[in-house]
């Protein structure tokens, strides 16, 4: 599904990603772990066009997406969430969700002026979908709150809500557990498992909470110093001496 080949990225003197390659198989929930500074978020940024790599290539469904812009990558049905949430702060929770769907007739100014019935009809559909998402996330009473006023955990949920609105083929989830209440985290994990199984959505998950990773992901890729150290099942990773040493810094 996703293939990263010899990716390399430096920021000034910091070599964040070093000739790194990895593969994410279709319909898996793959974990991407590593100690702080291993390059996990940078990898996400490179895959989604947020940063340009110095060298190397990214393939999604066998198509080279290395030079595509973020919105073009989104159009390919590859979606990401953020470690530090980035919502449109001065828009309501509902609008943040309704921003996401593709092919919105009303995003054409001409249609907004002269094709208002079609635009309204589509808006109603998107609104209904957004309210369903908010219902699932237990945030329905927040729909008219400005996103800037949400506490951290709910901002994270809003990020997940955006993912649900996007209906992508693959999702890069950056720390989905941080700030989310444990009861809801279980629900989110179950949802990820469910849509992966039933809709065939592929996930690549970065997460510091090893319980979440071990519970949710298989296989797991370990990134250390911008390079892939190993890949394996949760049990293999748990018992891998190199991984333990990388985490302990010995």
């Amino acid at each position: 599904m996703l293939k990263v080949e010899n990716l390399d990225k430096s920021f000034g003197g910091i070599h964040a990603i070093r000739n790194c390659s990895l593969i994410v198989e279709e319909e898996t929930i793959t974990g991407l772990i590593g100690p702080n500074g291993a390059g996990k978020t940078t990898m996400f940024n490179l895959i989604t066009g947020f940063h340009e790599p110095d060298s190397g290539q990214v393939f999604f469904k066998d198509e080279d997406i290395t030079d595509l812009t973020p919105h073009e990558i989104f159009e390919k049905n590859l979606f990401r969430t953020f470690q530090i949430t980035r919502e449109i702060q001065e828009m309501t929770v509902l609008e943040n969700l309704m921003l996401i769907p593709r092919n919105q007739t009303g995003e054409n100014l001409w249609n907004s002026w002269f094709n208002r019935s079609l635009v309204s009809q589509q808006e109603d559909q998107f609104k209904e979908k957004a309210l369903e998402v908010l219902e699932f996330l237990e945030m329905k009473d927040r729909k008219y709150d400005l996103a800037m006023n949400l506490p951290g955990g709910e901002k994270k949920l809003l990020d997940l809500g955006r993912m649900m609105m996007a209906e992508p083929e693959m999702v890069l989830l950056d720390e989905p557990g941080s700030g989310v209440p444990p009861s809801l985290q279980t629900k989110v994990n179950d949802y990820v498992r469910e849509i992966s199984r039933e809709q065939g959505i592929t996930f690549l998950v970065v997460e510091h909470d090893m319980h979440i990773i071990m519970d949710l992901c298989d296989p797991i890729i370990v990134l250390v110093d911008g390079q892939t150290l190993t890949k394996g099942s949760p049990d293999e990773i748990k018992n891998n001496q190199q991984v333990i040493e990388a985490y302990l810094g010995t």
Binding site: T48, I88, M91, T92, M98, E107, S112, K127
Partner: protein
């Protein structure tokens, strides 16, 4: 006195049209356009050249109807904005602003020096005012006021509908966090371009309205103060991001500007000759007062731009 008041209303309405355009670009899209004069200027000249009679001194003189002049002003301003957008929209924030200011001054100097095209510093006279020949000067003033207000209402409605639609939602997202908007699948370049071109077309209309009202234009009619910075002052006073606010801002600022003419009578004789600079100083002080006392303007930004977020269930 009444005709003075009508003149005030026409000019304030004309500036309101330009202020709505700037509010779309800056208030809703984040494009800091310091080159309003470019499109105001080009719109005025385009319409003047299309509607005036033939002249041996410059090109144009097609003698076409007012409405053709208005459409021509929109089309040429829009085309120019489209061409300028390719290099200029690659810049952000202050860099974009300075580039637009430089372009504006360059175009003003071209018009000033290319006599064959625009009659240079002598400008274009006899720009027809609709219905003036038919109804006479006094009645035509009222008709023109009605026309200016009608155009203001149309522009207001079009911008309001635009910003309260999914298109406006994308504009808002791009203004606030362009990268995030891109990550949400929105082509930020395209919407910035659309806002820039549409806003510039409206600025061109404002320029045409000015030209047909005054009846004479020359490069000195479009100094940066009168074509660009006064419009900025209007939206800052009214409230960036509020269409109603910028219209109020335009009427207030234009009132202060023409009202300051009367101050000349009260100035000491030694500085009467510098009255123009005193008026500019007054506008500068007004800007300082706004920024210090009420930086969000009289109305402030409308927090919610989508009708769906207003609490209604529509």
């Amino acid at each position: 006195m009444l005709s003075y008041f009508v003149s005030y209303l026409v000019m304030a309405s004309t500036y309101s049209v330009a202020a709505l355009a700037l509010n779309l670009q800056w208030g809703f899209t984040g494009l800091m356009n310091f080159g309003i004069g470019t499109f105001y200027f080009v719109g005025a000249y385009a319409s003047a050249l299309l509607t005036t009679g033939a002249s041996p001194d410059y090109v144009g003189g097609f003698g076409l109807p007012f409405i053709v002049g208005l459409i021509g002003a929109m089309a040429i301003s829009g085309l120019l904005a489209y061409v300028l957008a390719y290099p200029a929209l690659k810049l952000r924030g202050g860099f974009f602003a300075i580039s637009m200011l430089a372009i504006s001054e360059t175009i003003r100097l071209i018009v000033k020096n290319e006599k064959w095209l625009t009659n240079g510093v002598w400008g274009i006279r006899g720009i027809p005012q609709p219905t003036r020949a038919l109804l006479g000067a006094n009645l035509a003033e009222w008709v023109y006021l009605g026309l200016a207000i009608a155009i203001l209402i149309i522009v207001y409605r079009l911008t309001e509908i635009g910003i309260r639609s999914p298109w406006g939602r994308v504009l808002n997202a791009v203004r606030e966090d362009e990268k995030m908007a891109e990550m949400s699948g929105k082509n930020s370049w395209r919407v910035r371009m659309q806002s820039f071109v549409f806003g510039s077309m409206v600025m061109g209309v404002a320029g045409a309205l000015y030209a047909h009202y005054i009846g004479f234009i020359s490069p000195s009619s479009f100094t940066p103060l009168m074509a660009t910075f006064i419009v900025w002052l209007m939206i800052l006073l009214g409230g960036t991001g509020s269409n109603k606010g910028v219209i109020v801002g335009a009427f207030v600022v234009w009132g202060v500007w023409i009202g300051s003419e009367f101050l000349i009578d009260f100035l000491p004789s030694g500085i009467t000759s510098k009255a123009g600079f005193v008026r500019m100083l007054l506008m500068g002080i007004l800007l300082d007062v706004i920024l210090l006392i009420r930086p969000q303007g009289l109305f402030g930004r409308e927090k919610v731009i989508s009708k769906l977020g207003s609490g209604s269930e529509n």
